[in-house]
């Protein structure tokens, strides 16, 4: 046997070992591949269940809904941690909350984050809805998505309503009592159903337990179901196109990018920044627990709902809606919600651009301005009954101001667009001024009548309050009402002047009449 043979003999086991290892590796690879294939065929893992997103959707406004879901996830995590210690009974609800607050590791942190994320969730849901409204994403074929989104918004408000009671503080219990009391004022079948759902027959203990069940089981289940449905529809329809259509975008913006990792990582960034903002707010403004609910303490306390229900509560505080008028007020508020839900079937035009939808954009702006005004006003006037004329003045004034601003903005925009058009066109044929269409005439007449009525009303109110002020000089309410009346009068006079300008001077009719009058005066 030569040295070479010996070396070959020595190498043989190594060679065979390597082959065995390779075979084992191949086998294990094939086993893994087979396992993966089994899972893939059963669960459809390799199926691209999330479609690619367009480049233009890399914009926070497109992901407000996703951020709302992130807030919901944080709510779920912190809520489950608190569930470990919370006891849903009137005798122990407050003490268990206090125990989480004082003795549980990071207990106050959990409670604070839960609270602020709940606020953020409601705010984000509202912003998501209003963004959808203004860019009209509810139009064909996304009508059902809008309706499901609106129901999700109501469920989110339901989370706020049911969760507010759980700490059993004097603040939360008093506010919830007001809310539960309103159920009786609702129309009959709805009233009985809601009473059965949230009140029951077991007194405070029953209410708390039902609210707890709704908050931790029923509402999350409904929200998850609706979320899954909405996600499915989003996959079917894709991300909504920009208002001006895809043609208005450069080619690069229209390109599709994969959902993973590009869009996913973008969402991670948004979620991380949102989470850090929530944590910063939680650190700077930690929760302080109000005193425990007792009937004696509640009697001294002015009940006030949380900020997201303040606008509704402020409407109910108007004198006209006191006692007997409560069902009317609740019906009006319900009507607002019904109109919002059925919006896709009300605004059926195909136009999506904001610049071409003045009526609906103005109505949306009025809604947002009124909600903000009512909320701030409610915060400033806890427990006060609002006089009718004050309510009409403030709400009417805000509506008028927003309308005039909107009309002025649209006028400026259309004028700018007209100038651009003139520059671009080489020759523009002169067209005679067109008469107002029938609907425009009706709108103008109605607006002008309202303005005249408001001017008359505010003029009378101004005189009345000024006379009252001369008699009782120290009255703060008279000063306030005087200021409001004068403001209302100014707004209505401004509106009338604007209409006169638009109708007469703008079209040159008044000038022609003055010329004709002068001609007649001179005796020619």
């Amino acid at each position: 046997m030569t040295t070479t043979d010996l070396e070959a003999k020595k190498k043989e086991p190594d060679q065979s070992g390597r082959e065995t290892a390779a075979k084992l590796s191949r086998d294990s690879a094939s086993v893994l591949a087979r396992i993966a294939a089994w899972f893939d065929s059963r669960f459809g893992l390799s199926y691209p269940f999330l479609r690619d997103a367009p480049e233009y959707s890399i914009n926070p406004f497109y992901w407000l809904g996703a951020l709302t879901v992130v807030a919901f996830v944080i709510q779920g995590i912190t809520g489950i941690m608190m569930m470990l210690y919370y006891v849903p009974s009137p005798s122990q609800a407050y003490s268990s909350t206090l125990f989480i607050f004082q003795s549980v590791s990071y207990g106050r942190f959990l409670q604070t984050v839960h609270l602020y994320t709940a606020y953020a969730m409601i705010m984000l849901a509202f912003m998501h809805m209003m963004r959808g409204y203004f860019v009209s994403v509810y139009k064909k074929p996304r009508e059902a998505m809008w309706i499901i989104g609106m129901i999700m918004g109501f469920v989110t408000l339901g989370f706020g309503f049911t969760g507010y009671l759980l700490p059993w503080t004097v603040v939360s219990k008093s506010a919830t009592d007001v809310g539960v009391g309103m159920i009786s004022a609702l129309p009959q079948p709805l009233s009985s159903f809601l009473k059965f759902l949230v009140v029951g027959a077991a007194g405070d203990a029953g209410v708390l337990l039902r609210f707890y069940d709704l908050h931790v089981v029923v509402l999350p289940a409904i929200l998850l179901l609706l979320l899954a449905t909405k996600m499915y529809m989003l996959e079917a329809h894709g991300v909504s196109e920009p208002m001006g259509g895809l043609e208005s975008l450069p080619k690069k913006k229209r390109a599709l990018i994969p959902i993973f990792p590009d869009v996913t990582f973008y969402l991670v960034e948004l979620a991380a920044f949102f989470g850090s903002a929530m944590l910063l707010i939680s650190a700077l403004f930690p929760l302080t627990l109000p005193p425990q609910y007792t009937p004696q303490l509640a009697a001294q306390y002015t009940s006030q709902p949380d900020w997201y229900f303040l606008w509704i509560y402020q409407i109910l505080k108007f004198k006209v809606f006191e006692t007997a008028g409560l069902p009317v007020a609740l019906s009006l508020i319900t009507l607002i919600f019904i109109v919002l839900v059925l919006l896709p079937f009300i605004d059926r035009g195909e136009e999506r651009r904001i610049g071409k939808r003045m009526k609906f954009v103005t109505l949306g702006a009025i809604f947002v301005a009124e909600v903000i005004t009512l909320s701030v006003w409610g915060e400033l006037t806890p427990g006060q009954v609002i006089p009718n004329e004050q309510g009409v003045l403030v709400l009417g004034g805000v509506a008028l101001l927003v309308t005039l601003t909107s009309v002025a903005l649209y006028r400026l925009i259309s004028r700018a667009a007209g100038l651009r058009g003139k520059k671009m066109a080489t020759t523009t044929p002169e067209t005679p001024p067109q008469p107002l269409s029938k609907s425009a005439s009706v709108w103008t007449a109605a607006s002008f009548s309202i303005l005249l009525g408001l001017a008359t009303f505010t003029f009378g109110g101004t005189i009345n309050s000024l006379v009252g002020y001369t008699v009782d000089r120290g009255s703060y309410s008279l000063i306030t009402s005087s200021v409001l009346y004068v403001a209302g009068l100014c707004i209505s006079l401004f509106g009338i002047a604007y209409f006169l300008y638009r109708l007469e001077l703008g079209s040159g009719r008044l000038k022609r009449r003055i010329k004709a009058f002068e001609a007649g005066w001179n005796g020619n």
Binding site: F109, D262, Y266, V268, E269, S276, L284
Partner: protein
Amino acid sequence: MEWKLSTTSISKYSTRIAGLFVMVEVVSVVFLWSLNPVSLAQQAVFAILLAIDLISLAMISYVYRSCKQGNQINRVVVIGSCCLILIFVYISLAL
């Protein structure tokens, strides 16, 4: 002044930037474990440190995404995040 890094230097800078934020993450996590979980003041510090962690995570994700897509890394975003982290550190020391 050019506010975006040139594409040729993306890989060089991206590694450094990502490394910096990973270090910030590690340090803040180490500090997280040294806090007293029942103390009310230290719960606020916990929240701030967690916020710093999240900002770092967002920046690592941003750098990765920019590199992958071949986009330029926006210097304003990186410097702004660093300033934000410094402000957060200052707040956590003040609490």
